[in-house]
Point group: C2
Chain length 456, copies 2
């Protein structure tokens, strides 16, 4: 049985004999008895085992190592005076898989850097048990929100010939033999698997728009790749991306959805990962739960870029980058604005030069796009109404020297029954960092991929 079942309702098992399997996380020995913390990973909690000379093969049991897997049979007994209200009094503990003493995860404090080097073992540590459980719960929260609101889940393609962001950060995917290119001095894409140059998607938005124009409300949730060399706590080359796209929806509508989604998934995690969130609140970011509750209870403000610049100018604060109309909002500005408003807010209506080609152009030189800014972290993700006018889109793409022929079908969506539509793109890991309080993205990815690092 799962240890989780016991923690869900231990009274059901009192005085009953049960068998569980799991791994030894702690082992404290006394002369005639011993105590073991057993984890099977089905919940964050560890089952307290006690054994004594009545337990079969007592001497062998005393030799059991940290990290070993065991099968345990015993009786659940109440311990009303202790933090854990019950324990398993063991009749028999059978060693299944030993764990020699060179096991890296000994029960002492390890640094996050140490854990990263042992990424195949770190899911066994309590911290990562909490983080990856919340990761799983948050994923389901996202599906749950969209499904209960009638969205279609789309698996957009990962392999693609078009650079959806036009940012040139694509990885190339090939079956050409690089050594042969070296020798022959020839690159012939006709011999490549797809017969042309292909890469990994940087966004699913283009395909998302095609499906929104058929299903009205769609979302994607899949991996996305950017060959970004930034060595920061926020950048990985492979991340999961949530990209909804909604037809007949304007910027106001998509901001409403974004606000609802963020609140929904926060509440979902607090509800469905209680122990994990408490653990993170206690050991990772004190005040985490309060911070999240505040966000999920308040109303998000909507402020234009112009208003924000005015506030920054009026502040008379010395910024490294002097605020003025036309400049990008830097981290220092975000920080000031987040403190100023003291609540989540949408920063809307940006000068078009600062945003992507596909955003709806307004008459005053702005685009109908917005960034969601959360206190304590700043921008978490961006959204926009799309440019659905054929001519305006084409002229903007020409201004930016984009190759129109690479986007032929995307542009043609504006020709056949076009309609207003909007969408956003959430970097899943950044949202997860905000919800877990973990400050380095490498620690919320099972096996993070960053510049110069692709281990395991």
């Amino acid at each position: 049985m799962d240890i989780k079942e016991i923690f869900d309702d231990y009274e059901k098992f009192l005085k009953k004999e049960i068998t569980v399997e799991g791994w030894i996380r702690k082992h404290r020995k006394q002369k005639s008895m011993g105590f073991i913390d057993l984890s099977d990973g089905t919940c964050l909690e560890r089952l307290s085992l006690t054994y004594s000379s009545d337990t079969k093969d007592f001497c062998e049991v005393q030799k059991l190592h940290i990290g070993s897997s065991v099968r345990v049979t015993g009786t659940i007994v109440a311990t009303p005076d202790r933090t854990q209200k019950f324990e398993l009094v063991c009749k028999e503990i059978i060693l299944l898989g030993d764990c020699p003493e060179d096991y890296p995860l000994q029960p002492k404090a390890h640094s996050r850097e140490f854990f990263r080097k042992e990424a195949y073992l770190r899911p066994r540590a309590e911290l990562f048990q909490a983080v990856f459980r919340v990761r799983s719960v948050l994923s389901i929260a996202i599906h749950d929100y969209f499904q209960s609101h009638g969205f279609l889940y789309l698996h957009a393609p990962i392999l693609t010939a078009s650079d959806g962001e036009g940012a040139g950060e694509m990885f190339q995917v090939t079956t050409l033999d690089l050594d042969r290119i070296k020798e022959s001095g020839e690159v012939n894409y006709e011999d490549d698997f797809f017969g042309k140059k292909v890469g990994l998607c940087v966004t699913a938005q283009l395909e998302g728009e095609a499906f929104a124009q058929a299903f009205k409300k769609i979302y994607t949730f899949g991996p996305t790749f950017r060959a970004d060399k930034s060595h920061t706590p926020y950048h990985v080359a492979e991340f999961w991306h949530i990209e909804p796209e909604v037809a007949f929806c304007d910027l106001d509508g998509i901001m409403e959805i974004a606000e609802e989604l963020v609140k929904y998934v926060i509440k979902y995690c607090l509800e469905h990962a209680k122990s994990e969130m408490k653990y993170l609140d206690k050991y990772v970011e004190p005040g985490l739960i309060e911070k999240l509750k505040k966000v999920s209870d308040c109303e998000f403000k909507r402020v234009t870029y112009k208003e924000c610049i005015d506030i920054l100018i009026k502040s008379k604060k010395k910024f490294e980058f002097t605020p003025k109309y036309g400049i990008d909002i830097a981290k220092e500005h975000e920080k000031y604005l987040c403190e100023y408003f003291d609540c989540p807010f949408f920063l809307t209506m940006w000068p078009k030069e600062l945003k992507s080609f596909y955003m709806k152009q307004m008459d005053d030189g702005t685009v109908a796009g917005a960034d969601l800014e959360l206190p304590g972290i700043g921008e978490v993700f961006g959204m926009s109404e799309r440019e659905v006018d054929y001519d305006k889109l084409v002229s903007r793409m020409k201004e930016l020297d984009m190759k129109l022929e690479d986007y032929e079908w995307y542009i043609k969506l504006r020709k056949y029954g076009t309609c207003k539509r909007s969408g956003f793109g959430i970097g899943f890991e950044r949202l997860l960092m905000y919800i877990t309080g973990i400050d380095n993205i490498r620690d919320v990815c099972a096996f993070p991929r960053t510049h110069k690092s692709c281990e395991f």
Copy 2:
């Protein structure tokens, strides 16, 4: 509002004025009135609109093209004598986005090949509305099954340096400039993004095993890539893969989970995509629903490879490949066995030479692996207990000339608290083909990627 809301409970809207947005799928004109089928993609059903000379701008409305997007205001009126029990009597139909007459999806029969060439438009067609809705529903069914059974959802890495199947079908991922290699005559992986040769994952099993040894029950559900040049209706280079891995679980245990999962997701689709499944049963595979119900109601048999070979030999049937112990089970054999048993069955205990290196080796030269065979399609996916003995795994890998240093951490999982474990890998699209009755995998992928084809 969504058209789905009306079909969910039309009586709620009778005689009420409502506004909907959507696309014109059919348009039949008479002298003083007209009929439009309107789809907004929120459900398979199309709303019947009627307009007449009472409708605003009647003459303009008569000119509306197929495929155009419109906003419609009108009153829901009962039509008890017709198939559709209600219609929208229009007060106003406003054109939002026109669709010129060169629109490829005119209301006539199109071949599947034609649709593939217009993959960015085909989700608008009824057939693909059904297929991609079932795809979304089936995805959620899978999450639902695993979540309700306490599995952790793991996002395994897509970029990897190890070939998990050892089959050599990996795509390479690089930021090296191929033209520069051509000119310089040098391939220097130190200059590549990750500082080494990296490719796209062919399986998430290795990472799955690491997480199962921490969380007991995990599953992955993400894209997987194989540079397989097969031009068949079953092969794509990019597909979604479901890979659960369960600690303390043997082959019998994982077969039970596989059987439960298949039955669960079939029932879920029949329940949550009723109209779509009816449509597919009517237009794609007559008898589809009955076939699926039979599978979800019966008990799956378990038959060993040896028993199957004996049955094939005893059949005295002339096969192209003569059945004998040691040969692989060919399609013709599967077909015979499926008819012989007339129910889903697990084909278990294969000679180790026919299966992967990571399967648990038995003393008699077989491995504890099984394939699930379904009537009418044959093998749908395989499963196995894993080889968790350090020495046995290493010696098998050496027999197969595998580079042990590429799998160092995977092998070490057998050193630190190893335990019995099992898992399987479902090709999502093949399961989807079985459930939708669609016979070409290109028609269940939004934008299929196959040898020499990567469009959109």
